[in-house]
């Protein structure tokens, strides 16, 4: 039981009359890399939102390392080890890249409540922010406001934010969306190099990236899991080819 990182049970999310997620169950082992694929509107992002607490599911359970987190707020789930990126870039445009990362670093510890010391007084936060920027290819940019860097760089920042919340389970929602082939390759390489003790769930449209990174693949269609298997099984499956490539 303890080597199951994440378990999702019969999860559903209804918007008005539309069941965006319609009874999804998943079990992801600790350290596993799971990729979710499916055509646009399949409910992948909504499923992520419900797992990480961004949205409340209509029904179903979410269990993290054996602990029921279904009723916990998003910040509590982050404290317990969920980290995520957003499909639509969600960074702090008015803050510098360094400040963006500083918030990610103190968000999961008690220093976020400190108001009698400047953030700059925490040398370790600054150091960690600079190291992290360097790792995602943003070295030397710490003092630039996020709104002034390119779209691709904001995607890199998006990833760096998630990595600095000390995640045990990391959710990446189309990290390569909208990037040039070169940027795409750099990000997917970076994801590939993440330590194996981080359990990874990733939504990805690019089949090559997806099947290259995944240990296992889950295919969603109209809010339901239509297939789960190894990359090879998914590649060989005729139904997936029909549903996925038919729409994409």
């Amino acid at each position: 039981m303890s080597n199951t990182a994440l378990e999702v049970g019969a999860l559903a999310k209804v918007f008005g009359g539309l069941a965006a997620v319609d009874g999804v169950s998943l079990k992801v082992a600790a350290g596993e890399r799971r990729v979710l694929i499916g055509p646009n509107g399949a409910g992948k992002t909504t499923l992520f939102h419900c797992i990480t607490g961004t949205l409340k599911p209509t029904s179903g359970q979410v269990t993290l390392f054996g602990r029921d987190v279904t009723r916990l707020a998003e910040y509590s789930r982050t404290a317990l080890g969920m980290g995520r990126t957003f499909q639509i870039t969600n960074v702090f445009p008015d803050l510098t890249l360094g400040e963006n990362l500083a918030l990610a670093i103190v968000g999961t510890d008690r220093r976020k409540w400190v108001l009698h010391r400047p953030m700059q007084a925490y040398a370790d936060v600054r150091r960690q922010a600079l190291e992290s920027l360097e790792r995602v290819g943003l070295a030397g940019r710490a003092d630039q406001p996020a709104k002034l860097v390119s779209y691709g760089e904001r995607r890199q920042l998006e990833l760096a934010l998630a990595l600095n919340t000390r995640p045990k389970v990391l959710f990446l929602d189309e990290p390569c969306a909208g990037l040039s082939p070169a940027e795409r390759q750099r990000i997917s390489q970076m994801i590939g190099e993440l330590p194996r003790d981080i359990t990874l769930l990733m939504i990805e449209h690019d089949m090559d990236v997806a099947l290259g990174l995944a240990d296992r693949v889950t295919v969603l269609h109209q809010g339901r899991v239509i297939l789960e298997g190894s990359p090879d099984e998914v590649r060989a499956n005729a139904q997936v080819r029909d549903v996925y490539f038919g729409h994409a």
């Binding site: 990480t52 607490g53 961004t54 707020a73 998003e74 910040y75 982050t78 404290a79 980290g83 995520r84 957003f86 969600n90 960074v91 702090f92 445009p93 008015d94 803050l95 400040e99 500083a102 918030l103 990610a104 103190v106 968000g107 999961t108 220093r111 976020k112 409540w113 400190v114 108001l115 009698h116 010391r117 400047p118 953030m119 700059q120 925490y122 934010l161 919340t165």
Partner: protein, 316 residues
């Protein structure tokens, strides 16, 4: 702090220190008010400029604190050393209650704070056996700590100046602290802050209470200056003017609210001497700020400096 700023701060401090002897009682009084209302505007801007919450109930904390001090000093002869902290405490307790407004956002937050403000004004106005009704509480003495007592408006000016400097320095640390940065993060993207582990409602609630405490402190300084307090202190226009000062001066800065207070109080003083509808002039100033200088006076100064700096670079 760079050299130019340090020089500017030194000059401003020298001017502030010299003001009472150089400019006489009228200006000393006006500038004392500018400090006090600048502090109130700063408390409003703690929420507006950093967290993006537009409160229109800050006159409530200001007035509850002022009434508490006045009633304790005048009716019960409580000394300043107890009355002043009691004023801040009373205003802050009210902020603990009104802070529940942070469960809402945007226009709902504004509407709820307006309603809160009217409740406090109504109590001040109607509960006349306790608050003195429209006359309020009069004959508040100058503050005194044991044998050390303030005896003139000039002395009081210096006390308020010292208080403003201490608050400004403290505010500066606060702005740069993890907590202050967190507020700016919430203003930029609350959803991202939650996913980074911040309990944003608690963060905003703490900021609201802190802001209420600062407004309460301004209320204490006000009542000892003004010598009386009546329901006008709790009224909606005071809350609006405090926000106006922050916006006209420049939100998200320390100096902005004080500059805004200078503009608003100065204009009111000047315009009302020959024009009855001075409120309309304030409205026009506000509209002009929003349309042409959304960053306020501080923003204009920044733009001028950028242009001037560039011109200097071009000349060999």
């Amino acid at each position: 702090m760079d050299r130019g700023r340090a020089v500017l701060a030194a000059v401003a401090l020298a001017a502030a220190l010299a003001l009472p002897s150089a400019a006489g009682p009228f200006w000393t009084g006006l500038v004392t008010q500018m400090y006090i209302f600048g502090l109130l505007a700063l408390s409003v801007d703690l929420l507006l400029g950093h967290a993006g919450l537009f409160s229109l109930t800050h006159a409530s904390f200001f007035a509850v604190s002022a009434y508490t001090v006045a009633i304790l000093q005048v009716r019960y002869a409580v000394p300043t050393a107890l009355a002043a902290p009691a004023g801040i405490l009373a205003g802050t307790l009210l902020a603990l209650l009104f802070g529940l407004a942070v469960r809402t956002r945007g226009v709902y937050f504004i509407l709820i704070t307006i309603a809160f403000g009217y409740v406090v004004w109504g109590v001040a106005h109607r509960w006349s056996s306790f608050t003195g009704g429209d006359n309020g509480v009069t004959n508040v003495p100058f503050p005194a700590l044991g044998a050390a007592a303030i005896t003139s408006h000039t002395q009081y000016y210096y006390l308020v100046l010292a208080a403003v400097i201490v608050c400004g320095l403290g505010y500066r640390v606060f702005m740069r602290s993890p907590f202050g940065l967190g507020l700016r993060g919430i203003k930029a993207s609350e959803s991202r802050m939650q996913s980074l582990g911040f309990r944003t409602s608690a963060h905003l609630y703490a900021a609201f209470v802190l802001s209420g405490a600062l407004a309460s402190f301004a209320g204490v300084l006000y009542v000892y200056y003004n010598k009386f307090v009546n329901p006008v202190a709790a009224s909606f226009p005071v809350s609006v003017e405090a926000a106006l000062m922050a916006i006209v001066g420049g939100t998200g800065t320390i100096i902005g609210p004080f500059l805004g207070a200078a503009v608003v109080l100065g204009l009111r003083n000047w315009v009302s001497s020959f024009f009855e509808l001075h409120a309309a002039v304030m409205g026009a100033v506000f509209i002009a700020t929003v349309l042409w200088a959304p960053q306020g006076l501080v923003g204009i100064a920044g733009r001028l400096r950028a242009r001037f700096g560039k011109a200097k670079e071009r000349t060999p």
